[in-house]
Symmetry: C2
Subunit: 110 residues, 2 copies
Amino acid sequence: MDAGAVVPCCPPITAGELSQDDAEKMAVMFKALSDPVRLRLFSKVASHPGGEACVCDISDVGVSQPTVSHHLKKLREAGLLTSERRGTWVYYRVAPSVVAAMSAMLDLRS
Amino acid sequence: MDAGAVVPCCPPITAGELSQDDAEKMAVMFKALSDPVRLRLFSKVASHPGGEACVCDISDVGVSQPTVSHHLKKLREAGLLTSERRGTWVYYRVAPSVVAAMSAMLDLRS
């Protein structure tokens, strides 16, 4: 699945009941962040200088490089990261519109 | 587990790498929202008049009342809902500080 296929949704959680479609979309995104290793990897990419990171930049999360690659791929499939291959490595960066949609959905001020 | 035991955390995802402790705390919260039925129930409670709802208010999510109760309990255990028994029913409402912490963590503007 391409990250571009994920369309950010949804109204704030206080605005009304989520539709089944929107609930299914959002559940995929929340599920991608429901694992501590994936959350740490996500924060590493988000906070990396230049806003992007490759597996080559990540070595200290306590799991092997293939496992890191697997988790980054899951985050990309959920739409939270985008990726670009440059030479040997795939570089990941946060998909700002998708992450902003999750934040906005949980924003109780709105 | 009592909802009061869950302490909201964490810095914005762009601020730096999450600690293992914070990642484990946040993963529990995201996991609670990683199921479409739970997300719909959560939005139902959040958007219900008065900001609270009991199982008696919820009948049209396509699952049985015991399943609704089970999911609401999971959301409470993750700290996203608080609960209060009044008479026959347990009333649930959104735990604003916990949900705000999740939103803030994903807020890329900060």
